[in-house]
Symmetry: C2
Subunit: 315 residues, 2 copies
């Protein structure tokens, strides 16, 4: 059995043919063209699916199902996408529309959920009974997998882990609240704090590495400077890790998963991040002598979206 | 089929015979005597079980299973109780010890989990697909029920919702961390804030109602004075409700349950609390036009522990 997975982003659509084990057999991409009506975008998704199936040498009638990961919220049961801010979509009947083009079972879910699901099948969390995936990017996305299935809650608005409250009355969030986890644990948070920090310490290596223009500071610059021993960058990084660890503690104390997987741009910092996070979590554990979730880096990288979306259709 | 449920507390043991639907057919109690070795406490639990079965006119061989709710953490799979601070228990092989007295399947789980489970079968959350129960008492206990079964996580340390971080670097918690949800949403939090408030406003009605001794302020005094229109008490109550609402938002954004049930001492404030919490949650909802968890008061009161523990053995 093979499946088609689609990773639908604000700028590009990626699609791939994926086998039962999560291996990508063929993949391709197309621009999203999000300024167009959703019908046109969905027609292009269908055309891309047909194209990658041909690339893989798989007749469409041998594709068991297709799935799509969307940067918004989905109702996996009705197949409707109530909100997708990046695409400007509201209440888009995705599955219904897709069925005009493809005669296949169609599944939709949130992109972080789908990426976490992929890791739980073909990545670092394979074989675990409960996993939580965090994408540390512009925001913080969350993917919960329980008993082998993605968990998005009863109304499809769950696993928005980036919007747990970490600091009541804290930094204002795009969601309208204050102090959400993602305000402290995203790449955006690192950048914000680094810009604040270089104002106080213009001698920081970060200023040199951004060509003297704090607007050019990105998470990589901060992490590279922290690695290189720049004190101000290190302080920004340590505060970031501490906040991330506090959010992880909330996840452990509520969901107690077997594994917590760190993905997204910030996770490119690799072991430098991973070791720091593990060290920061340890003293915050409630029951010190009990086992708790392993913390690991994601393994599937940018392909996780395609793989997880494809396997939504796997029984 | 009937079951025996035991609510094991720091001072008393309550037990009851419960039918399939969650109705208590007979119940009784005994002192815990927690200063004794655990073997003695467990022998007394067994004796109490035999006694309530006789009261109900049920031969022990007709009891399908017994279950116990414990104010600590449990490993429902091994039947071991790794931690129960109230009883001073560490790594107590509860099920094994109980089997020396009773020839029955024995189940153990956390007391808040068990109470939430009871509500999900015979109480306000009956028939829901995912529920979260909060006991607002000395601390904040949490009970998660997913797909009809209690969820305590992979290592048995989950559903400790009172120890989500709500305010990083906030009020110190008994768990060793700072800013846990229960530091803001427990009866203890109301009392702490009321004592702070009467220092600044000794004219508050709360001072009269506690006989001039702030050490005697309890949550009921604060809530009664808030209801009666005392401004200082109202401010304490409002801050409490606001923090509770922020914690509820974290629960909604992560778990997206069908219902959130408020139990424990503070929930005795009834609709005065419930309406305030519902109003406080509404503006914090991420996706304003999407349905989200109903918030309700617990219905089973003090019997929830017996009922939920009993039904742990139900298939």
């Amino acid at each position: 059995m093979v499946y088609i997975g689609v990773d639908l982003g604000g700028t590009g659509i990626k699609a791939g043919v994926v086998d039962e084990s999560g291996t990508i057999l063929a993949k391709g991409s197309a621009p999203t063209g999000r300024e167009r009506p959703y019908q046109a975008v969905i027609a292009d998704i269908a055309a891309l699916c047909t194209r990658v199936a041909a690339q893989a040498g798989t007749p469409m009638e041998e594709v068991a199902a297709m799935g799509v990961g969307v940067p918004g919220i989905c109702n996996p049961e009705t197949g409707v996408i109530p909100f997708c801010t990046n695409l400007g979509w509201h209440d888009v009947p995705f599955v219904e529309e897709m069925h005009k083009h493809l005669n296949l079972p169609v599944h939709v879910d949130n992109d972080a959920t789908v990426a976490g699901y992929a890791e739980s099948i073909a990545g670092v969390s394979a074989g675990t009974r409960a996993s939580v995936f965090l994408t540390l990017g512009t925001g913080v996305g969350g993917g919960i997998v329980l008993g082998g299935r993605p968990y998005s809650g009863v109304h499809g608005i769950g696993s928005e882990i980036g919007h747990m409250i970490l600091q009541m009355d804290g930094e204002p969030c795009t969601c309208g609240n204050e102090g959400c986890f993602e305000r402290y644990a995203s790449a955006t948070a690192i950048i914000r704090e680094a810009r604040r920090a270089v104002k106080k310490d213009p001698q920081s290596m970060m200023m040199k590495n951004c060509g003297g223009n704090p607007e050019r500071i990105n998470a990589k610059i901060v992490i590279d400077c922290a690695k290189a021993g720049d004190k101000t960058a290190r302080a920004v990084f340590d505060a970031y890790v501490r906040a991330l660890a506090h959010g992880i503690i909330s996840i452990i104390n509520v969901l107690d998963p077997e594994i917590i997987v760190l993905g997204g741009g910030v996770s490119m910092a690799g072991d430098f991040l991973l070791n720091a996070v593990r060290e920061a979590v340890k003293p915050l554990i409630f029951f010190k002598t009990m086992p708790y979730a392993r913390i690991e880096l994601a393994r599937l990288g940018a392909d996780a979206g395609i793989i997880g979306a494809a396997l939504l259709g796997r029984k």
